[in-house]
Amino acid sequence: MKARSTLRRTWLHCLLVVCTLGLSALAVAHHSFAMFDSGNQQRLVGTVTQFDWTNPHIYIELDAADPSGEIKHWTIECANISILSRLGWKFNILKPGDMITIVVAPLRNGEPGALLKQLMLSDGSKWGNGAPAGPPTIDIETGEKLDG
């Protein structure tokens, strides 16, 4: 009986993997994030200049210093009201003037736009950007590459 339930669990697990892969292909067809380079993530520390709690995407406008210390303006695309509300975000989570740290996947074309992977507020709380946007691959506190 135990062997049977283990077998069933394994079967369900395989199905989940297959479904997730299949559905990822579907997600790509729905709305692609391929313009962003998820394999080359960056950590940015900066000041919010505008926060748009809107659909089809939420946007953070951010002034962040580059490694040479020069301030550069970034447009950060986040998921949307539906996904982020279900993750606990609220319309007033950010406001102009807030200092934040983010991990992003920058645009492949080199323009200062990016897809959010993770947000850290000044109180240290960390917020994801939902399943379709995918997880961060670098540590939001240190910028070090994460395992796996």
């Binding site: 369900l12 697990h13 199905l15 989940l16 297959v18 479904c19 997730t20 299949g22 559905l23 990822s24 579907l26 997600a27 790509v28 067809a29 729905h30 709305h31 692609s32 391929a34 313009m35 380079d37 505008q50 748009d52 809107t54 659909n55 089809p56 995407h57 946007y59 406008e61 303006h73 447009t75 695309e77 949307n80 009201i81 539906s82 996904i83 509300s85 279900r86 645009l107 492949r108 323009e111 200062p112 736009g113 939902g130 399943a131 379709p132």
Partner: protein, 250 residues
């Protein structure tokens, strides 16, 4: 006579209780409520029961199948290059049928007298299914995003027939003619799960029925969010058709 009347009262009560019970038993199981796509892609759910098998390739006629496969390959190659081809979503165009039945976000099913209404949170899509109504011939059906749906209850299964889908409203980029027909069998598999068995037929494009099953998990506490595509900063490059992001101030 008075004695007989005395016996009639309990009989009347018993009859009325019995007819109420019969009416309840005959009442189809209610599908109304808030439903998440299961196992879900945008809001992945814990796997509790076996999910449906993957959707098969459409049984397109050979000439259309070759074109469709080539398009899929082109879309995939563009993705891999990091130059995604703009889709309907880039222009804030809603799914339409049948895609909205497994749209991006949760959906709400409302049962009312003579009608079942389905609201998909993404793009606030609304589909109205008229019960026990006559379907119009597809030739007469105005092409729409969600078409024209009529249904009847067969026991605990809502059997829905839909015609009149606009030709540019496609599921998985599969082409179709105005004669496309979508048949659905929607039913509860337990209190918390629902299935929609979909069959698409199209004499012009398909060699036979294209069938798959979608599943849903109930979330009674969920309240749908409003969705208005008011701040769309993505656009299709007029030269390449590539999806792009408009930066602040552009």
């Amino acid at each position: 006579m008075a004695k007989h009347k005395k016996h009639l009262l309990p009989l009347t009560v018993a009859f009325s209780v019995l007819s109420t019970l019969v009416a309840i038993a005959a009442e189809p199981a209610r599908i109304d409520g808030k439903w998440f796509a299961y196992p879900g892609q945008v809001d992945p759910l814990q796997l509790t029961i076996e999910p449906p098998p993957p959707i098969p390739e459409p049984p397109l006629k050979p000439e259309y199948l070759a074109q469709w496969r080539a398009l899929r390959a082109e879309i995939q190659a563009a993705e891999q290059r990091g130059e995604p081809i703009a889709s309907g979503y880039t222009h804030c165009i809603p799914d339409g049928m049948p895609t909205m039945m497994q749209g991006m976000f949760p959906m709400e099913v409302l049962e009312s007298e003579g009608q079942v209404t389905i609201i998909q949170e993404a793009y606030q899509q609304v589909r109205r299914i008229y019960l026990d109504d006559e379907q119009q011939p597809w030739e007469e059906a105005e092409p729409r995003f969600w078409g024209h749906s009529v249904a009847r209850w067969e026991g605990d299964t809502l059997v829905v027939d839909t015609v009149g889908i606009k030709e540019n409203v496609m599921f998985r980029n599969v082409p179709h003619s105005p004669a496309m027909r979508i048949s659905e069998r929607i039913r509860l598999i337990d209190d918390m799960h629902m299935v929609d068995e979909v069959t698409v037929t199209d004499p012009e494009y398909l060699t036979g029925p294209w069938q798959w099953t979608w599943m849903y998990a109930r979330n009674p506490d969920y309240k749908l969010y409003e969705y208005v595509c008011e701040n769309n900063r993505e656009y299709a490059d007029p030269e390449t058709g590539e999806a792009r992001l408009r930066l602040f101030g552009e």
